[in-house]
């Protein structure tokens, strides 16, 4: 059988940077191919070649046995290649229906055919078994998971042969991810070829038929997913064996440093109470929308609080501003690196030193030189790969950006670190480094609140895990007394499982 899509020895360079130096892959019709690789391995570049954003320098691409080199995104789309990006591209003010048909509105003599538009949108949603979405609601008002479905429906309207999904689950809960997988399997069974890019290996394993691993712009291996050894795949990804991704560093728990009682925000959270001790890593699990992010923001003073008490180092201080919290030694890592966490257009040094410019100043004037030396030292310590302290941070890969964002808290010498999804959308290597860093911080007596939607990492590195459900922190236990199943049960609001 002729494969749906074949890429052979595709190469692409940007100036001196060789982004792709020989990638080959193959997808059959009705097959899910997992494209696996660390950040910077070239996955996005490869997909941009396929979707027509970049022209390859060398190599061949065949679609249904015929040579096909997309000259621009429209050409790729006409060839039947649809791409769904990690950052959603919906028009937030338009309705779900309008978004689905966007760019292909059925019309007569320039007049919209509303009935046909609705039929088109509905049939796409039905095909995904999602007919009950509120089709007239503005897309921006719906949860991320639904928006993602809308993106797929939009691609579906155009009857794609190949559908590319880039990290689609990075902001989804497990349950939403499951429903996304059902949609993908449905498409596969209808003969669509799906290329699925993800960092979550377990996910790739559950979903895909075959895999291709990229490393440093080269395809280093492919195979059938069923029965493949995950450790072997990780070894291919990083080029070395990652022995223990979750390091357990022995550390002492001290006195409580942060005590939160019945904290309530404007909308969320409804009620949050916990104690954080010196040297403790407290994980917070829960579904997206459970109020975890809002809790951190309320504690840090970014959102208003309605009620409750927050004690920092024994001082009652609910409702302080972020400035005062930083002065107290509390730091927050935003879940949204791009929109909130970083000044993307500014340099690494500006980003890293922003909260504490004092040590990089002389006689009241900020010194570029001191800023750069301080930043270079942190870059070394955190293994940040960049051209230098002066480079704009928006040019770095996600993992390196995140290390700088965490570096800001370290430079600030924060003693209580509120980390919101610190490992979202970053590669395995960087993740492992961040886990180790968090462990080292705990050893040094710092306290960490670690919000994550990825249970294995919570169970892997935390001392204590709290679970939130619908705005309320429902349970806190030492990590040994949780199982993954119990956490999920608590997160979806099932009665607590009795302890045996």
């Amino acid at each position: 059988m002729t494969p749906r899509l074949v890429m052979r020895n595709v190469k692409k360079s940007f100036g001196a940077t060789r982004a792709l130096c020989g990638v080959s892959l193959e997808v059959q019709a009705g097959e899910v191919l997992a494209l696996i690789g660390e950040n910077g391995a070239g996955k996005s570049t490869l997909m941009k070649v396929l979707s027509g954003a970049y022209l390859p320098d060398d190599g061949t691409i065949e679609l249904d046995g015929r040579p096909f080199v997309p000259g621009d995104p429209l050409h790729a789309r006409q060839g039947g290649i649809e791409m769904i990006y990690q950052e959603l591209t919906l028009a937030p003010h338009l309705s779900i229906e309008e978004n689905i048909v966007l760019g292909g509105e059925p019309s007569r003599w320039g007049w919209l055919d509303r009935r046909k538009r609705r039929a088109l949108a509905m049939s796409a949603l039905h095909e995904l078994d999602q007919g009950d979405l509120p089709i007239d609601a503005p897309a921006g008002s719906r949860p991320i998971a639904e928006q993602q479905i809308v993106e797929i429906a939009r691609a579906l309207v155009r009857q794609p042969k190949v559908l590319i999904l880039d990290e689609p689950t990075s902001s989804l809960t497990k349950r939403d991810a499951e429903s996304l997988f059902r949609v993908i399997r449905r498409l596969r069974d209808r003969g669509v070829s799906v290329i699925y890019i993800s960092h979550f290996l377990e996910e790739c394993q559950a979903l895909s038929d075959r895999f291709t691993v990229l490393r440093d712009g080269e395809s280093v291996g492919s195979g059938v997913m069923a029965g493949a050894d995950l450790r072997e795949i990780i070894r291919m990804m990083v080029g070395r064996e990652v022995k223990d991704i979750y390091p357990r560093m022995p550390h002492q728990l001290g006195e409580p440093v942060l005590s939160v009682r019945r904290l309530a925000g404007r909308n969320k959270p409804a009620s949050v109470s916990f104690d954080l001790r010196a040297g403790e890593i407290l994980g917070v699990a829960g579904l997206v929308g459970a109020g975890r992010t809002e809790s951190l923001r309320a504690i840090f003073g970014l959102d208003e609080t309605r009620d409750g008490s927050v004690k920092v180092f024994g001082t009652e201080s609910a409702g302080l501003s972020p400035r005062r919290r930083l002065d107290q030694g509390v730091g927050l890592l935003s879940e949204d690196r791009k929109a909130e966490g970083l000044l993307l257009g500014r340099s690494l040094s500006d980003n890293l030193t922003l909260t504490r410019l004092g040590p990089v100043s002389r006689m009241g004037l900020v010194s570029d030189r001191l800023q750069a030396t301080t930043t270079t030292a942190w870059m070394k310590r955190l293994d940040v790969r960049a051209q230098g302290a002066e480079q704009a941070i928006g040019e770095l890969s996600g993992g390196n950006q995140q290390k700088v964002a965490i570096g800001r808290l370290l430079h600030h010498e924060a003693r209580i670190l509120l980390l919101d999804e610190p490992t979202r959308g970053i590669d395995v290597g960087s993740k492992a480094q961040i886990y180790r860093l968090i462990g080292e911080l705990a050893v040094a007596g710092k306290s960490i609140v670690f919000v994550s939607s990825y249970l294995p990492e919570l169970l892997g590195i935390c001392d204590t895990v709290a679970v939130m459900c619908r705005g309320t922190l429902v349970d806190v236990r030492p990590v040994e007394r949780w199982t993954e199943h119990e956490i999920m049960a608590a997160a979806i609001g099932q009665a607590p499982v009795p302890q045996s």
């Binding site: 692409k12 940007f14 100036g15 940077t17 982004a19 792709l20 950040n39 910077g40 391995a41 070239g42 996955k43 996005s44 570049t45 490869l46 941009k48 970049y54 712009g217 970014l302 501003s321 972020p322 400035r323 919290r325 930083l326 002065d327 927050l332 935003s334 929109a339 909130e340 966490g341 970083l342 000044l343 993307l344 257009g345 500014r346 340099s347 500006d350 922003l354 909260t355 410019l357 100043s361 009241g364 004037l365 900020v366 010194s367 051209q387 230098g388 002066e390 480079q391 704009a392 040019e395 770095l396 890969s397 996600g398 800001r408």
Partner: protein, 325 residues
Amino acid sequence: MNPRIARFLSALGPLFGLLFVIGIFSASEEVRPYFLTGGNFKIILTQTVIVAIGALGMTLIIVSGGIDLSVGSVVALTSVFAAKMVLQGFDPVVVVLLTVLMGGFIGCVNGTIIASFRMMPFIVTLGMMGVVRGAAKWMGNNQTVNPPKNPLNALMALSKPQELIPLPMGVWVAAALAVIMAVVLRQTVFGRYIFALGSNEATARLCGIRVARQKILIYALAGLFFGLSGLMQFSRLTQGDPSVAVGLELDIIAAVVIGGASLSGGTGSILGSMIGALMMAVLRNGSNQMGMPTYMQEIIIGIVIVLAVGLDKWRQSRGVRQTGS
């Protein structure tokens, strides 16, 4: 490319533009004897002062991601205000102080409204533009205010018109303030916060910058400069004119933008803005010397603004490397 060198080059871009424009006017045999003289450059520098001082304030605002459309009106109001005070017999020092403070006060009102009601600076200052223009006409009874000869006239007066030196006081004041503001914007915490705010307001808040207070300070400080511009305007005309400086804010914004600032905030420099202000003045002066009608000047300046910013964008887009992930 090394980012340090890249930054240096991007600062030089507007300077090359300025030299290029001077070069073009000097190329013509007929214009050169009038254009390329010390006396003419004294005129150019003096003509730059009002826009340049305004651009000092506007640079802060634009780098912070804001805009101020009320500058022309503020200049008119403060020039009338200064003229009236001189007429009342106030000491020149008091006149200077109060005029500048009046500009600061209006900026403070702008900033407070923008920060406390989270309103678009464009709208707030558009409203203020009308309010202050009206106030200026009211204060001046809808006519110019003509005080007697006074020491403030010396700020912008041209003595020894054939030679470059001595430059009028106003030029030195503008130059000194430019140096101070360059340091303030680049090397102080206040200045760094302005960049952070313009680059990403959410990040600024996350990093403990008191966003509302910072905004009010920025608009108030900029207002002081607009007040000073008004004082220079008064000195240059030796009268307070409530209908003067209509559209001046657009010249100032153009100067800042030619100097490399982005209207979406986060980038810009005092040096660039000063070069931008000079460029506008050189263009006006040069086309005057060439005997061009004013409508041609307007067309040329319009084209130069778009060209300058377009070139800058083009250079930047080539500088950005594509990173795969």
